[in-house]
């Protein structure tokens, strides 16, 4: 079971990691190349902050964070904790997720 975390603004990737109150946590397992199970949940943070989002990523044992703008300090912190950060990604979350699940997502991709 792999987990990813995406800060949300409505149904898009939030432009800022530190200002997102809604965070999507996706758990998925690949059974074959094209088949698998996906579970999604949206966590609402009491106060939007980079620290709260980092705490959530750690407590949920997230493997990858997908976001748009993130400060270097928090990017480095997550990387230090062994979490892969794909930043500077923007677009509707469904397209971003689909791209990630097909191993096509890279830093800096825009889906608008």
């Amino acid at each position: 079971m792999e987990k990813i975390l995406i800060p949300l603004l409505d149904s898009d990737v939030a432009p800022r990691f530190d200002l997102a109150t809604d965070v999507l946590v996706v758990s998925f397992s690949r059974e074959t190349l094209t088949m698998g199970t996906i579970k999604e949940k949206v966590v609402v943070l009491n106060n939007a902050s980079s620290e709260a989002a980092c705490r959530l990523a750690l407590s949920e044992n997230v493997r990858t964070v997908i976001c748009a703008g993130i400060e270097a300090e928090y990017h480095d912190f997550l990387t230090w904790k062994g979490i892969k950060v794909l930043d500077d990604v923007c677009g509707p979350v469904d397209l971003v997720l689909e791209s990630y699940l097909t191993d096509a997502l890279e830093k800096g991709m825009c889906f608008y």
Binding site: Y74, W80, G108
Partner: protein, 466 residues
């Protein structure tokens, strides 16, 4: 009142390219957007501030392009124009380089014939990242610089006149004397204070990276250059570029800097197209540049070019009673910051502080007092609240005569090596002490030190504490 003839405007700006060229010359970031916030045009400064190129920005909604906190705080482009007038706000953005940049925004609606909002023009300019620290009221100072000694007062009186010129300034002085702050105060007092203040430490980057960092590079200039980079000179357009540790600038780049100072045009790496950058250059160093010229490690012609105005900041040990003024200033500052009720120093602690030679100058004094306020649990700072190395340090020598700042032929003052290693050891011990006191609980340790968790984490990483 004279009105503008639209035909003349059309003649002046016949197509989008001429409008873009005009916008590119402005020292502010400018974006033209549609009624729904879709970016239609951006200028070079906007590209520089966001770190994104214009091809990737145009067509995006402005909140995804600029990544500004004001988008979430009632920006009329998103929330709707309840009152159709220009708005301005202080905000911050996160650039593609993952830096938080503090900016001043203005958003003005573009109105149609019937008063309907057709679009908006947004301007973005950088602002200083810090406000004046607490406790400067009543002290003699210039911005964040505090001092009452004749040497410092002479510099304070010179700054307003220096700020009004565009001449290059060379600031010399030992480490920790406030060279960076003085450069920023000169910028703040100048007409360029609406423009950016960009600081580059010439000693912090390897030679190969420094050229592209300073002058930028074109797309495809070298392997891995998958996008064009504007460079710090272009980022400083309309403002001030502060090159600290100029003595560490490699000889090859000294030539390029000299060429810029001559014609004010920069050529990004791999590009033949120059950019006219309206930038004032301030440089600083703790090294003896004249000696470096003699050793052929620094170009003499560059020294002459930079040495138009020279300011020398005296070391703390030669500033007489300024040490008391600064002690009080930092004590009040950290009292307020950490919410402690420390009222002063015991006689022994005061004697110890007065007798110490401060090789790290004002920065070292500031750090000592920060340490003491952190560890003081009563109303008075005693010697045991001060770092242990103060007790082992030799007493301060009598103040040495400071040479008059003069032209390039004048001898440089004695530059003593910094005691940064010592302070690093102290800080490492502070972190360890706090962790021991709190049983390894990082949140409590961070609170004890008066730091954020992330600061503690950074320090732990820096000092290799697991």
């Amino acid at each position: 009142m004279p009105t503008l003839d639209p035909a003349i405007l059309k003649w002046l700006l016949p197509d989008t390219d001429s409008l873009t060229d005009l916008l590119d010359e402005l020292p502010l970031g400018v974006a033209v957007m549609g009624w729904d916030g879709t970016l239609l045009a951006v200028n070079k400064t906007y590209e520089t501030l966001t770190g994104a190129d214009r091809q990737s920005l145009v067509g995006l909604k402005c909140l995804h392009g600029l990544r500004c906190d004001y988008c979430f705080k009632g920006c009329p482009v998103l929330a709707g124009w309840k009152k159709v007038d220009a708005r301005s706000a202080e905000a911050n953005i996160i650039s593609r380089n993952r830096n938080k940049v503090y900016v001043r925004l203005t958003i003005s609606p573009i109105l149609g014939d019937k008063g309907e909002v057709r679009g908006a023009v947004e301007t973005v300019s950088t602002r200083a990242t810090h406000t004046l620290e607490e406790g400067t009221a009543g002290l003699t100072g210039l911005g964040n610089l505090v001092g009452n000694s004749p040497e410092i007062q002479r510099i304070f009186t010179m700054v307003p006149a220096i700020a009004q010129t565009d001449s290059s300034v060379l600031i010399t002085g030992e480490t920790g004397t406030g060279k960076d702050m003085l450069a920023e105060e000169i910028h703040n007092a100048s007409d360029r204070n609406d423009g950016p203040f960009i600081k580059v430490n010439c000693g912090a980057l390897p030679d190969t990276l420094l050229e592209s960092e300073l002058f930028g590079h074109a797309k495809g200039a070298f392997t891995g250059a998958d996008r064009a980079k504007p460079g710090r000179f272009r980022m400083a357009h309309g403002g001030t570029l502060f090159l600290t540790e100029i003595g560490d600038l490699p000889l090859a780049l000294q030539v390029k800097l000299l060429s810029f100072l001559d014609d004010k045009v920069i050529y990004p790496l791999g590009s033949t197209k120059g950019f006219h950058a309206d930038v004032r250059v301030i440089v600083a160093t703790h090294r003896d540049l004249e000696e470096m010229v003699r050793q052929r490690r620094f170009r003499q012609d560059l020294l002459y070019r930079l040495n138009v105005i020279r300011l020398h900041l005296p070391p703390l040990r030669n500033r007489g009673d300024d040490i008391h003024l600064l002690q009080d200033h930092f004590l009040k500052m950290f009292q307020a910051r950490f919410g402690k009720k420390v009222e002063g120093f015991s006689a022994n602690a005061q004697a110890l502080l007065e007798g110490y030679p401060y090789p790290g100058n004002v920065r070292e004094l500031r750090n000592l007092i920060e340490y003491a306020v952190n560890f003081c649990d009563g109303k008075q700072i005693h010697t045991h609240h001060l770092p242990g190395y103060l007790l082992r340090a030799p007493a301060a020598p009598s103040p040495e005569p400071e040479p008059e700042p003069a032209g390039p032929s004048a001898a440089q003052p004695d530059v003593r090596p910094a005691r940064t290693e010592s302070w690093e050891e102290v800080q490492r011990r502070m972190v360890l002490d706090a962790l021991v006191k709190t049983g390894g609980r990082k949140r409590q340790a961070a609170e004890l030190l008066g730091w954020g968790r992330s600061t503690l984490w950074r320090k732990m990483k820096h000092y290799g504490i697991d």
